[in-house]
């Protein structure tokens, strides 16, 4: 990203980051992780986060009195870029430090408690998850059914959440529940944090199409919540949840759609023969490379510009929301084409391969990417409504009290 390199301060920051990362690469980077089962890899990840904390690269854009570095969002992005390049085992903590913990910092009531949680989360000692989606909910956040009723000076929670990433390894979670079923859908929600080890909490991993099980069903059976665990006004949970989702959408940016880099496709196309000559000489393959290159370059330019604007203290444009929609969808097609080109070799499958480095893994997991964190159709609606001001879809449930909506 030449534009960043042109910035001296950032430039030296990138050097420092790279320097440290390479100094610990032998212990933590991609080669060290090869073939590790999830549990072992997670343990390695915890050690990595501790080391990162001690080295002063944790909570880069968080206030110092929470153990952060007090630097800019841009500094954070630069470090993560270098981190991702080496394939450090930080993925397990991405959601935890990305959404729930910042929300806790902002809305947690007991500051001493908050401070301890934040530190432990930064050191990888504790992990937080985000409990939003539900079986009936799908993309419809306001349709949540999990409920909490007043119980003495606190609350009693019952219900079920779905698609909770890494819940099986989590110590705490943030959750949105219905505290008033008698008001219209999004008005009756409240935001809490919950102890995942508390009695009545059951976590059941869900195996995904690709074969892995990093998402979970979570059941709540008369789980006790203190009112001090509340992080929004009663009935004001929807707003807090939306900010979380916005953060999420903004953090998730990879013009490769979290699949392989285009260089890998070019390599595949050069190494594979088709009709007795390298496949890269075929017009269909060249077109796919060119179109994807142009698309990714555009998304990268959008991200770069957003960074420059943040640097200049400006608000980046809304076009950032395009990234996931466009990139993941294209990754799916490109992965299919790569498998086609590989021919018989494309039939092989390695269950431990990473989606960013293997076409079959990228292809089989692509549909999850198109749905997680906002399905394509939802993103298109968001763009159409929030950016272009087009009308909302017809919604029969609008303004109807939740308990009067036909199941």
């Amino acid at each position: 990203m030449t534009t960043i390199a042109s910035d001296i301060a950032i430039d030296s920051w990138r050097d420092r980051s790279r320097q440290w990362l390479h100094s610990v690469a032998s212990d933590f980077a991609r080669p060290a992780r090869a073939g590790l089962a999830v549990e072992a890899d997670l343990a390695l990840g915890r050690r990595y986060l501790a080391a990162r904390y001690d080295a002063g690269f944790a909570g880069i854009n968080w206030p110092q009195d929470y153990g952060g570095q007090g630097l800019s969002h841009l500094h954070k992005l630069v470090f993560e870029e270098e981190e991702m390049a080496l394939g450090m085992p930080s993925g397990y903590f991405g959601i935890s430090l990305g959404m729930p913990v910042p929300i806790l910092m902002r809305h947690g009531q007991d500051r001493a408690f908050v401070k301890e949680r934040v530190t432990r989360a930064l050191r990888g000692e504790e992990i937080w998850c985000q409990l939003f989606s539900e079986p009936a909910g799908g993309s419809d956040l306001a349709g949540l059914r999990t409920r909490a009723e007043v119980d003495g000076n606190g609350w009693r929670m019952n219900g079920q959440k779905l698609w909770t990433s890494w819940a099986q390894y989590c110590d705490y979670g943030v959750i949105v529940v219905r505290t008033d079923p008698t008001v219209p859908k999004h008005k009756g929600l409240t935001y809490f944090w919950v102890d995942m080890k508390a009695p009545g909490v059951t976590v059941r991993p869900i195996k995904l199409a690709g074969g892995d099980s990093h998402v979970n069903e979570v059941f709540f059976d008369d789980v006790r919540l203190e009112d001090s665990q509340r992080m929004s006004p009663v009935g004001g949970g929807f707003g807090v949840a939306m900010t979380t989702l916005m953060i999420e959408r903004y953090i998730a940016t990879d013009s490769g759609g979290f699949g392989p880099h285009l260089d890998l496709f070019v390599q595949t196309a050069r190494d594979t023969d088709y009709n007795g000559r390298p496949a890269i000489l075929d017009g269909r393959v060249r077109s796919a490379i060119a179109r994807n290159h142009a698309m990714r370059a555009g998304l990268d330019a959008i991200t770069t510009r957003a960074m420059r604007m943040m640097q200049a203290g400006m608000e980046p444009g809304p076009e950032g929301s395009l990234n996931k929609l466009v990139a993941v969808r294209s990754r799916q097609r490109l992965s299919e084409l790569a498998l086609d080109l590989m021919g018989p070799a494309g039939l092989a499958f390695d269950a431990h391969a990473h989606a960013k480095e293997d076409w079959a893994a990228s292809w089989i997991n692509a549909p999850t990417g198109r749905i997680a964190g906002g399905a394509d159709e939802m993103l298109l609606n968001t763009i159409a409504e929030r950016i272009l001001g087009l009308p909302q879809d017809h919604r029969p449930d609008k303004g109807v009290p939740f308990n009067q909506i036909p199941g």
Binding site: L208, D340, A351, E377
Partner: protein
């Protein structure tokens, strides 16, 4: 030819669907994805019991003497059921080679056993990315085959294979028993396809055709297998179309069935178009068997069916949202099968070129 099915054909279609609906279990199929070397014996026993193995074998050799149209209808049913064994299409290819190329005793030795399902046959033409390499590396000399054929469909279980190999006077098609052949399993995303690298080491084999005759026979086998595969793909795509439609009618979001949202509604309507076009091509191709239009019709069918199945897998999962990407929902059975069928015996690029070559009369 006729593209309207007669009563017998309609009966085959309904019966094959009915029996597979009754006997194929999604959970059993899910259990076959990850382990290597296993296939759905219940399905295969059914295929034998129903006479599908005998369908396209001449009556003289204990078969039913039926053709591509009937086999296509069965393939459509097996495609809808993501059948857990790959032998029908491969077996048909081998049978055609035996019928057209084998001398009486060889045909008599194998065809009846293939008809009863005692024996399983496959086809090994491709090497690397070449569907039919002009100069195959696998060699034939003095009645023996030597060399490796990669990722042969059904290779882990087949008893014999029709092999495309290089002989002294150019390429040959030869039949080899696989008893002594080295089989290296290929761990795949669709393991019930039983892919194996077959290593021939001076393996005894009988020549079915050589030179131009071999090339023509191989091309005919490819086109015929393409038509069967196209039917299988159509069956899978149609099944996904119905799954998507039914889900869109029942699943609610924002207070109405998601099928009321045009993004879902039109996606399913477009799927309907892809499926009907592919189906029409497949039926037409089967009906063209033996005519001059066959090669072109086979390519039409294969191209539109591959596109329909891949697209249906992509879109049906997307329409399902989160539930669609779970292991247990099993939509990935179709997703995986759509890919494996797209790659076996020639990807889209191959069939596009095949079509254009035939269209402009530069056929190989």
């Amino acid at each position: 030819m006729s593209i309207l099915h007669d009563e017998g054909q309609v009966a085959i279609a309904t019966q094959s669907r009915r029996v597979l609906d009754a006997r194929v279990s999604k959970d059993r199929l899910l259990g076959l994805i990850e382990p290597v070397g296993r296939y759905d014996t219940v399905f295969w026993d059914t295929a034998i019991e129903q006479g599908w193995t005998a369908l396209a074998i001449p009556e003289a050799h204990g078969g039913l003497g039926l053709g591509l149209i009937e086999l296509g209808l069965v393939a459509q049913a097996t495609g809808a059921a993501t059948a857990g064994a790959p032998f029908l299409t491969q077996g048909y290819g081998a049978v055609r080679a035996l019928v057209d190329g084998a001398d009486a005793d060889l045909a008599a030795a194998w065809l009846p056993r293939l008809a009863t399902g005692e024996a399983i046959a496959t086809v090994a033409l491709a090497e690397g990315n070449a569907v039919l390499p002009p100069q195959p590396v696998v060699s034939y000399a003095d009645g023996r085959l030597t060399g490796v054929k990669p990722a042969v469909t059904g290779g882990l279980a087949a008893d014999c294979a029709v092999v495309w190999a290089m002989g002294a006077q150019g390429p040959v098609l030869a039949l080899a028993e696989l008893g002594e052949v080295g089989r290296t399993p290929v761990h795949s995303f669709d393991n019930s396809r039983l892919y194996a690298d077959l290593a021939f080491a001076a393996t005894p084999a009988r020549v079915l055709a050589q030179g131009a005759a071999a090339r023509n026979l191989a091309h005919d086998m490819l086109a015929r297998m393409a038509v069967v595969t196209a039917h299988e793909q159509v069956g899978g795509a149609e099944a996904l179309l119905f799954i998507a439609r039914d889900y869109a009618l029942t699943r609610k979001a924002f207070g109405q069935p998601i099928g009321a949202f045009q993004s879902v509604k039109h996606r399913i309507a477009e799927l309907y178009g892809l499926v009907e076009i592919a189906r029409a091509n497949a039926i037409h191709a089967a009906a063209c068997e033996g005519t001059a239009d066959f090669a072109l019709a086979a390519a039409d069918a294969r191209i539109s069916a591959t596109d329909a199945y891949d697209t249906a897998a992509r879109d049906c999962v997307q329409i399902h949202g989160g539930i669609g990407v779970t292991w247990d929902a099993g939509l990935h059975l179709h997703m995986r099968r759509a890919r494996s069928l797209a790659i076996e015996q020639g990807n889209l690029l191959f069939w596009e070129d095949y079509l254009v070559d035939h269209l402009v009369g530069e056929a190989a």
